[in-house]
Symmetry: C2
Subunit: 595 residues, 2 copies
């Protein structure tokens, strides 16, 4: 019963008006030709594919789930395979791939919009191409020329899919403990043995071949994370013509029953002397895999953005239709037996929270994608470095801040439906169940917060954060005398100053005691998340003020949402800063026996 309309106008606002992607892309030789017309066409056609092909399979895919048919065979839900064929026919897998390997070479900023819509339509299905995209990025960066020739065109065309095989039963976060072994063979290949778990898209019936990227240990490799290497392990070993050849010793042992994303097969993968080939340098597997991991982390943020959007659309439609109680200030629909629930203040709070987080995250995530484009393709090295730094800083925020907020907002969408939200029929509870995994996989949100505070901020003494801070300061200074902007600029500037102080304080404390970083990290990430979101909402408010008389209601809508964000959401930082400052003592002074 759910519905989905691609939010074309809002995407255009973000890409063309807020981020001005055309002029940014014009500086990049590879994308200089990507004009507005092409971008709009991709979004519109992509939106049709998502809403017409993927969306109708979302609930049925959840109900049916994947089936383990025995002997390593997994069947995806009805319709998934046809949708894959249409995906290939439309040329969608090639979108952002390198033309050298059959791709269309479009910028990430455009690919991101398509990814968002795919996830609104069907997160479980979208994980099949999503992980393939990560595998593509990883091999593109670290594969040998031969590996690229064999695998990249297959990924780009959607002929084959990819997986990332990291987790083992005894280790997920702590990959240093992994045990899967790789023994060198005379022909330059490796025999790989071990068991991997939680392998999304690990087995399925969509494509003729599946290519696993597997972390394993070489004999006599150092202990811990410094002794991990990366291998390509295809389900069918490509023959001389690049077609699937001999069946390899890699097999799905079973699939997991889980809370959500039922349409995606989460596999236990047994490697029993499977043939694999080294990717990149021996013992440098984790660094190589991090290309895929970073791509996946941004991808998870996009998954949640997609869910937030579709959940919002549905709860908004319901709030306009569902009649229940009269407004506290008197009937608003006197001709009806009750008022639509959108008249009630708390229903509005739940709708506007969804709207502010969704649209703010869109601005923020697309901007991150643009940084990826600049980092890859700008002719000036200093500009590339700045974009790389910004992307490194933002990646854990895109992953954790968006997914935490997305769980809040999909739950609000469900809450607006009351009892009907808890019933499967309406589709809302599926969004909550699907959104929940996003806070866990590709590094839990706690891990993201440690990455942000420990590695990205304290690790370079705040240099990357200052680069972002400079953007904020420049905007604050430019608008500081604009009275109309004061309601946005004042709290943003105030938060900026508080972030500076807080970072310094935590840094000093963590220098004495590293647990202080661990104790503050989760709160800290949310504070920075609000600084980023506040920056984008203030920028959107500025545009909206300039264009509010244009007749397009979008600008007045942005202005109202920005006001809501600063009044009702950003104040969360008042509590977060306090709890971050409360430090490690209340956590670490407790003896284990007292829990």
């Amino acid at each position: 019963m759910a519905q989905y309309l691609p939010p074309i106008r809002d995407m255009q606002f973000v890409l063309h008006e807020l981020l001005e992607v055309e002029s940014r892309l014009a500086e990049l030789p590879a994308h200089a030709e990507t004009g507005r017309e092409l971008i709009d066409q991709v979004i519109e056609e992509g939106g049709k594919f998502c809403s017409e092909v993927l969306f109708p399979l979302n609930r049925s895919g959840d109900e049916e789930g994947c089936t383990y048919e025995g002997d390593g065979v997994v069947r995806t839900p009805k319709g998934f395979k046809d949708a894959w064929a249409k995906f290939r026919e439309g040329g969608w897998p090639t979108l952002t791939c390198d033309p050298e390997y059959g791709g269309q070479g479009l910028p990430h900023a455009v690919g991101m919009a398509f990814q968002e819509m795919m996830n609104s339509a069907n997160q479980a299905w979208t994980m099949y191409p999503g992980l393939t995209h990560g595998a593509y990025d990883c091999l593109h960066a670290h594969g040998t020329p031969e590996q690229k020739q064999v695998y990249l065109p297959k990924f780009a065309s959607g002929a084959w899919t990819g997986t990332m095989c990291l987790t083992e039963p005894h280790c997920g976060t702590d990959l240093g403990m992994l045990r899967t072994k790789a023994e060198p063979q005379a022909d330059g290949s490796y025999r790989i043995s071990g068991t991997k778990i939680f392998i999304s898209s690990g087995e399925h019936d969509l494509t003729e071949n599946i290519v696993h990227l597997v972390l394993a240990r070489l004999p006599d490799s150092p202990q811990g994370t410094k002794g991990i290497s990366l291998f390509i392990v295809p389900k069918f070993v490509p023959d001389a013509n690049g077609n699937p050849g001999a069946r390899n010793g890699v097999k799905c042992a079973r699939i997991e029953e889980k809370m959500g994303i039922h349409g995606n097969a989460t596999c236990v993968i047994d490697l029993d002397g499977a043939t694999g080939w080294l990717v990149g340098d021996p013992n440098k597997g984790l660094q190589a895999m991090f290309v895929m991991m970073n791509s996946a982390r941004i991808g998870v943020g996009l998954q949640t953005l997609g869910l937030m959007e579709v959940a919002y659309q549905n709860s908004l439609a319901y709030a306009k239709e569902r009649l229940q109680m009269r407004s506290l200030t008197g009937p608003k629909a006197p001709d009806k037996p009750a008022d639509p629930i959108i008249v009630h203040p708390d229903v509005r709070r739940m709708l506007l929270t969804q709207k502010a987080y969704t649209e703010g995250s869109r601005a923020f995530a697309y901007w991150a994608a643009l940084q990826a484009d600049v980092a890859h393709g700008h002719p000036d090295e200093a500009v590339r470095k700045d974009a790389e730094d910004m992307l490194a800083l933002l990646t854990p925020i895109v992953k954790a801040f968006i997914t935490d907020n997305g769980f809040v907002t999909t739950n609000m969408a469900m809450q607006i439906y009351g009892g009907h939200g808890y019933i499967r029929e309406w589709g809302m509870e599926q969004y909550v169940r699907d959104a929940r995994i996003n806070m866990i996989y590709e590094g839990t949100n706690t891990i993201q917060s440690l990455d942000l505070l420990g590695r990205k901020v304290l690790g370079d003494s705040g240099a990357k954060l200052r680069k972002f801070g400079k953007l904020v300061t420049e905007f604050v200074e430019a608008e500081g005398t604009n009275e109309e902007m004061a309601e946005f600029i004042d709290p943003l500037a105030d938060l900026g100053q508080k972030v500076e102080k807080l970072t310094m304080e935590i840094g000093m404390k963590a220098f004495q005691n590293p647990d202080e970083a661990g104790a503050a990290a989760v709160d800290y990430l949310r504070v920075i998340g609000h600084l980023v979101l506040g920056y984008f909402w203030a920028r959107m408010a500025k545009l909206a003020l300039e264009k509010q008389e244009s007749g397009d209601p979008l600008y007045r809508s942005k202005l109202a949402t920005a006001r809501f964000y600063f009044a009702k959401l950003m104040p969360e930082t008042a509590a977060l800063i306090r709890t971050a400052r409360a430090g490690a003592k209340p956590l670490m002074d407790v003896e284990v026996e007292l829990f």
Copy 2:
């Protein structure tokens, strides 16, 4: 794979040491004999029943769910019926029932502890006796002597179960719109026709009869909530001997597929000229039903308390066993390949949040139950009135604050398991799915907040709130010069003052514009929730300080948890007060078209 140990020691701490129930009960003629020994025996034996009989059916009940077998017949999951037989054999349904109707007449404060354990063990199963208990309370208060004679012994013995039939497809919150009709018959009965939805325990195979309490309209009754009457509609009409006789025209049309509580049948109930009997006065059905509703609201808080406890126990055990990464301050288990994750600050934050909310809610909910005992049975009318007021004030807080926190904490329990939390096998995701309904049914948490702020606080110009405030002030004054208590007393006193100001401010604004109450209510309820929880944590800290040298680690544990609560959870009020004060404008100024 989940486990459950009844938290006997902590229950005893709350009942005997914190609340001193024996001396409070000694003032109540009906319960004067309820000594500590009897209470402990009930808890211990009750705990065995819950952990040995109900708990093993929790996951299997979720997996199997209820089955609609056609023609109105519903089958509960394997084992549910046997458990019901054991429940009756043990005399558990009779626990708090009136001895006049075959009950044991134990106080609510004791029944509450048993209810908590049943819910830890199996929320879906516990809803069958839970709703029966509400139906019992309602008929006990409003039934005719004949109705009581026929039905109450059947409820007390667990021979029959009860339901509450309020919701219809077009109305849940807004019962004023309900359409089910009741036509008077010559014999004094009524013919009732209509469709009810979301009827928990509406049909099942546990008992020989099911008694529906149904809201319906008499002919020519006033519109809205003033024209609603309450009827008893048994599935089988009792014969002259009180045994199930003729099959009545009330039938389950189907059961809902839902997110959780799969072991409980959520039914669509068709009434097709069913025979019913009026309960209480015509057109006063909603008031009569409110007895059941208030009992159910406290019950929902208890459901969540149960889930919080069992989720905490499991995530704690996992955090002690699961080895992953080294402590940031150096290895804590150097003989093992990694440290148990309980060494990590954020894992501790998630554990202590669960612990602080769980144990705080236990103190708070049991105290509320004690108010119910006092309200029912104290010889002094003024004391009864005070207890009634306290219970009225606390009911929406027990319901909404505990269930909101419970959704946070069961999610934290799941998060501690990482990817394993998302997999069904470990049982954690079921707690999240089950906990989710508690924020919705028996009045959504927004409705609770409006009840608190609108009816309970502003409705009597703060009189009830001042009664609770007096307890806080007395405690603050008594401990104000106790230096050891300053870390708890100072923030509690500070919050007390802020609540006073905030209440006044919202009251003034709401007087001008009722939407101001609607806009602030949800934040306001959480602020009051923290005042209540802070009061109980401060009182527990005081006891703990006095007894920390006793050798029982419970007291040091309480002290550490109280410190955590004041340092890391209560500061949330800093943000809540800001957003409550931000008022209605950012919500209500947005035209519907701009959403």
